[in-house]
Symmetry: C2
Amino acid sequence: MAIRAFAATKAGGQLEAFEFEPPPLAPHDIEIAITCCGVCHTDLSLIDGTFFGLGDYPLVPGHEVAGRIIALGKSVDHLRIDQRVGIGFLCGSCGECEMCQAGDSHLCPAQEGICVGRHGGFAERTRVDGRFAVPLPDGLSDEDAAPLMCAGITTYAPFEELGLAPGARVGVIGIGGLGHLAIQFGKAFGCEVTAFSGTAAKEEEARTLGAEHFVASRDPASFAHLAGSLDLLLATADGDLPWAEYSNLLRPRGALWLVGFPSQPISIPGIALMSRRSSVTGSLMGSPEQMARMVQMVAAKGIRPMTESLPLQEVNTAIARVRAGQPRYRMVLSNDS
Amino acid sequence: MAIRAFAATKAGGQLEAFEFEPPPLAPHDIEIAITCCGVCHTDLSLIDGTFFGLGDYPLVPGHEVAGRIIALGKSVDHLRIDQRVGIGFLCGSCGECEMCQAGDSHLCPAQEGICVGRHGGFAERTRVDGRFAVPLPDGLSDEDAAPLMCAGITTYAPFEELGLAPGARVGVIGIGGLGHLAIQFGKAFGCEVTAFSGTAAKEEEARTLGAEHFVASRDPASFAHLAGSLDLLLATADGDLPWAEYSNLLRPRGALWLVGFPSQPISIPGIALMSRRSSVTGSLMGSPEQMARMVQMVAAKGIRPMTESLPLQEVNTAIARVRAGQPRYRMVLSNDS
């Protein structure tokens, strides 16, 4: 049965109602009735044709999917009909390379993305490889789960990977779709979180989310007093930041970790890294195994994305609001069909 | 008794014979009769007054010291008279901060350097804190040990810190004082080493030192075929390299590691790091504990610095040769007095 969806038919265009025949249900596939799908800035880049050359039209965006399993391929034995699951951008990998064998399927050079060469989650249903589905715990609603599939895992993974001890000092640059989750994860991992935002009015909210300190960071002079103090500085903003000044905030062995997309190459004096054995790294997404651990932590610790919801039919309104930076903080499309 | 040494009395000047009274032998100090001292590019920067503002005149350079203990402070109980030891740049730390407590005294914010606020190793004797002395094993000569105290530890530490498994793929950019040691350490750690040099004529030597592959790297096109292949890319050259192209050679989770001093800030597209969860880091020196493990490995594996030796009295000739890049590869001053 054809799947009803919304698609961009040309770069930057409005989304239009679109129907397509799903591919056959392969042995490892599952079919999901989508209840919620988040709207990510990456969806806008895909619609606009500015996401590193990826995406073809017609293009159904959406890579923050939550829903219910309605069909199982014949080889799927770890999931069941009616089970609630989430799907992020990653929906395929070779399974054979060193990355896949090490549990790093999200780093597989042959990885497949849900909106690249197949349609995404702005739709009523989807068929995807069940090995990339994340079972959702009871304590986590579909609306809350959806943004975790991209914004959540992207901000969760650095904490898990660094293995920060409780008490570690963490900075989060930017309080938005990613940053408001990063602050909560930082608190849940027991870290002392400093939030950096160009918007001074966000201080109260940052503290409510779990930040112990707040810096109104329009001017590097505002954070110079934090030099040498941070184990992790998570950059969730996507602008061209004063990287040299920010890198100066790292403690020895500290990491500046990019999770937003800097608009320009980042430029840092080598001595800033060498003298402290500090590093600059970055990541996108995480592995399915990390996602599974994330949703358990979210349910256990009461972490909640701040979301705004609109029906899927109002997808163009939703996109316009995301383009304007209006949602506080994550837009979710809900499917009533 | 006064110590005879050679000192720069002004920025960029020739070194001149110089005598100074050593400080009193403190409880943790040892006095060393210096047999050999390496000449490092950092010494030239110190002489020239261009090393990040450090150094005062008269300045006795030299931070690659090997020699024999001739006096012990009253609290030194882990060393003995006549024992052979080495001393690098690091000769003091607070002992109390988190870095020191974690064995990272070389990252202590209050660390003390041998040529900064005290005189260095272009001298017949020196008094330093014995806790920063590295006992030298029998299989390692003083002339070979001296360059290991800076060039050696700087290139050894990244291998130890990354914990690379045998078979890991390592690139070494630059075959010089640092690079010729890095290739040998890479081989000793069981890695598959690719040497990058702008000088095609160094291929045979690189292979003799242990490199399995060689790239004449004047043009980034020469190494584009290595994209996504390296676990560690050690940059020992001090120029402004094509960082974006080099970072593209990293495998997922790979590290570009600076050990030379880039002349300009390094500039890398964020997506290059994010898409592979790769990193840029850097380091100077290593801890005394790492140095102790290094000299054991060097002795066990037959690693040998390639050195050229001149008497200490010919220090200005030695410096001129280092400035001109003539030694193959490390200049060592020997003390016959």
